[in-house]
């Protein structure tokens, strides 16, 4: 089956020799949600701009929907929809006017424009606000309209560049639901950039982690987490429990880890949480609390780059093309 997105050695250099994207390879299957995870300035938006034909690559190649992004720009644009990082809307136009303009520029016949506009407004929950100027919309409403605009011409492939940045939890959740629905009901391929671990974990079928313009890890969230290590179990002793007794038991299951609240062990395969509970029970050692810490995508990022994704930030990606 032809890949929805196929990228080989894609590079983008800006003035001063800055390599925002330093040679990436990735494949996205049709109907897949691909999460492109990385800190600010890692090269996510530059990649999206190249794949959506807004920025010519310095070298390398990519096909989107089977079309070369350099040689077949118009065909790529007909295939894709995109909601870029800045929800670029005209504050003086209404939501309905935005959609009608977008549909008209896509060549949708006049007779279909009104119907499609109503359909999209209903879908993103903006029917009641349709005739209000964008200047009065909340951040979440703007993002929803942005998504509706990206979907106006029924694209097969959707690019979402940090779609939930700055949104409240309710709006974020609503947008996640819509992305899942698009994949499930319409088979839309989604290329989603994010700096939120949870978003990539919840939504993405596969994740690519980008840092300093290079993909440092790629795979399903589960496989990436499994790749970097086993879970850790941490126990908080009760007042009467000797930590040494806990350490002795935990030591049977792996290497002890530093813990600020009690005793922790990284499991080495000799047992799991249930085995630890059974061992504690048979030794009649009581604990106040017991946690299982499964590896997160942040642990994956830490393992691959030596630093944590949360709070990590690169200098802003250059805005000016070479």
């Amino acid at each position: 089956m032809e890949r929805a997105i196929e990228v080989r050695g894609l590079v983008r250099e800006f003035k001063g020799g800055i390599r925002a994207v330093a040679g990436i390879d990735l494949d996205v299957a049709p109907g897949e949600i691909y999460g492109f995870l990385g800190p600010n300035g890692a090269g996510k938006s530059t990649t999206v701009h190249m794949l959506t034909t807004l920025l010519p690559p310095s070298s390398g190649s990519a096909k989107v929907g089977g079309h070369d992004i350099v040689k077949e720009g118009p065909a790529v644009r007909r295939t894709i929809g995109a909601a870029l990082q800045e929800a670029a809307l005209d504050p003086l136009l209404t939501g309905r006017e935005h959609l009608k303009l977008q549909l008209a520029l896509h060549g949708i016949p006049r007779a279909d424009r009104n119907r499609r506009t109503d359909e999209l407004l209903e879908r993103v929950g903006l029917r009641l606000a349709a005739d209000r100027k964008i200047g009065g919309y909340s951040g979440g409403m703007k993002r929803r309209l942005d998504l509706a605009l990206a979907l106006a011409h029924r694209p097969r492939i959707l690019f979402l560049d940090e779609p939930t940045t700055g949104l409240d939890p309710q709006s974020r959740s609503a947008l996640w639901d819509e992305v899942v629905r698009l994949k499930r009901d319409e088979g839309v391929t989604v290329f989603l950039t994010t700096q939120y671990l949870e978003e990539a974990d919840v939504l993405a079928d596969r994740v690519g982690i980008i840092d300093h313009g290079r993909i440092v890890a790629q795979g399903t969230p589960a496989s990436l987490k499994a790749e970097i290590g086993r879970p850790t179990v941490e126990a908080v002793p009760t007042d009467g429990t000797q930590p040494s007794a806990l350490e002795e038991i935990f030591g049977r299951f792996g290497e002890l880890q530093p813990s600020t609240t009690g005793v922790a062990v990284r499991l080495d395969g000799k047992g799991d949480l249930a085995d630890i509970v059974r061992a504690l029970d048979s030794a009649q050692v009581k604990v106040a609390d017991l946690h299982l810490h499964a590896p997160t995508l942040d642990d994956v990022f830490l393992a691959k780059t030596g630093r944590s994704l949360e709070g990590s930030e690169e200098p802003e990606e250059p805005a000016e093309a070479e």
Partner: protein, 258 residues
């Protein structure tokens, strides 16, 4: 796929809507040039007694000026709108559609031209209402409309050029005083042959704005002056060609989509 004409229509419609929804953008060009005309006419009416002055009504003589100043307002406003589209990324939204690049430029200019047409009707209507008589008759009025729209197109192309080159609303705003200097160092207040200060007369003769004013003025106070009209239309069309060519080249760089 929509045709270029349809794309231009939709973008021009947006441009007009934007202008109408920012009252300062259409009230100022309608009121301010006429207010300045009233002040200048009151203060300089005595100039009509100068030997060789081409009209006995300074109001009729000066009515050409609002057309130029109004075009300047419309131009700067449109340039600012285009620069804002670049700053906010709206231009990227448009670039992701099958829209042809030229449609963006001509759509914006279409909005400016619509505004120019409205302004021309207003200035001419007010002028006629307060006693100005068109020596060239009804057909002359039609030619004034054509000329006014061409002037707006020519000025507008330079506003668009500034927006596309800089992508900055502040930079486009800074054009305003530059254009203003061009307006004042022209034959707006006196015919060039009556300007006695040599450097000013030379500067006014080198200034293309003088020929635009004189073309409109000739239709109001003289009738049909072939030379003034030929010079006015030539300057106007020349400016439009230069402005549109440079804007198109800048647009190519600004919308570097593949």
């Amino acid at each position: 796929m929509t045709s270029l004409t349809a794309q231009v229509f939709h973008l021009a419609r947006r441009s007009v809507l934007r202008t109408l929804r920012q009252p300062a953008n259409w009230i100022t060009p309608l009121i301010f040039p006429l207010a300045l005309m009233a002040v200048n006419t009151g203060g300089l009416d005595a100039a009509t007694h100068l030997p060789g002055f081409p009209s006995d009504s300074f109001l009729s003589f000066f009515l050409a000026f609002p057309f130029i100043q109004g075009a300047l307002f419309a131009t700067v406003n449109a340039g600012v709108d285009l620069a804002r589209d670049i700053q906010t990324g709206f231009i990227n939204r448009l670039a992701l559609t099958p829209m042809q690049s030229a449609a963006l430029l001509f759509g914006h200019l279409g909005g400016v031209i619509a505004m120019g047409f409205l302004q021309a009707a207003w200035y001419l209507g007010v002028g006629l209402a307060i006693g100005v008589r068109l020596e060239s008759g009804v057909l002359g009025g039609v030619v004034i409309f054509v000329l006014a729209v061409l002037i707006v197109l020519a000025f507008g192309s330079f506003g668009a050029l500034a927006a596309l080159r800089t992508g900055s609303t502040e930079s486009v705003h800074s054009l305003f005083p530059v254009f203003f200097v061009f307006m004042f160092i022209s034959s707006m207040n006196l015919p060039r042959n009556l300007i006695e200060t040599d450097w000013f007369r030379v500067a006014a003769s080198l200034n293309p704005v003088s020929y635009l004013i004189e073309a409109i003025r000739s239709l109001i106070i003289e009738g049909w002056n072939g030379e003034a009209l030929a010079l006015g239309f030539s300057v106007c069309i020349g400016l439009a060609i230069v402005g549109l060519t440079l804007s198109s080249l800048s647009l190519r760089g600004r919308m570097a989509r593949t």
